[in-house]
Subunit: 162 residues, 2 copies
């Protein structure tokens, strides 16, 4: 699995916030109920988004969360990065100096690390996909309850089997 449930929950949460008017705080409870997610766990998820500056919050009664920017200005790589911490295809992309044998880059034999080339390309592919998708797109896609047909041009890329 590439992304953990934090990413899934966090993106859903962002979409819910994107559906609301800005500055109108939405409580976590409302989101948890709407999406059927555990409230206590969502707290941890939303904390990451807040620390990353993607959402803002108000405490106390009638408090809640809202997007700190319009959904159209939020690229999904920011969101996923905040939720997952990093987008790393392989361990050595995070811990340069793990004790694991796993990644003996710059090895004694003097050969260049070919797997790093591969994983770097993969990372590029992922980040590009995320960067070119905005939260607003996802909000539009989820859209209003389905009426039977999609708005034209709203789903340019949905070939699952690629």
């Amino acid at each position: 699995m590439i992304f953990s449930s934090k990413a899934e929950y966090g993106v859903r949460l962002m979409i819910e916030l994107g559906r609301q008017a800005p500055e109108h705080p939405t409580s976590l409870k409302a989101i948890a109920d709407a999406e059927g997610l555990p409230l206590a766990y969502l707290e941890q998820v939303v904390a990451r988004l807040r620390r990353a500056g993607l959402v803002m919050s108000a405490r106390g009664a009638h408090g809640g969360y809202w997007l700190s920017r319009p959904a159209g200005e939020i690229a999904m790589d920011e969101v996923v990065m905040a939720l997952e911490g990093s987008i790393a295809p392989m361990e050595c992309f995070i811990n340069e100096h793990t004790e694991r044998v796993l990644c003996s880059h710059e090895p004694d034999a003097g050969r260049r690390c070919a797997t790093k080339l591969l994983w770097t390309r993969v990372q590029g592919g992922i980040i590009r996909s995320l960067q070119t998708t905005t939260l607003a797109e996802l909000v539009d896609f989820a859209g209003d309850p389905v009426t039977g047909y999609a708005e034209p041009g709203s789903a340019p890329e949905l070939a699952v089997t690629e």
Copy 2:
């Protein structure tokens, strides 16, 4: 982390095999020594590659493994797919009917699943990166022990920070 160590080890193994003349079997022990990887674990890894038809094997003394096709005809998505089983950004891409709350696609509210759109794009980005890289490229990149400079044009895409 996106890929497990099986992918790292398996790709390294394939590169080692790509460096050898075809039909000349290479023993796992030689590869394990060359890469500094545990032999017993490599057995499990290479078994996946064999079952996928990417390598062939000969038992007995002077047995070993070799590529079943020229390295130039092996795209890396095949290799990674064989090693990892699948390339799935999110759990629901594998177990359509897991009991987890995680993925309530086609939900009661009738809204379309926007996260699935996002993960599908990501999956596409990954698979495209892998498909457009052949094993031969990686073998060339690892190349002979570094002499100080790369062959021109051999590393078209190495921007780690992207």
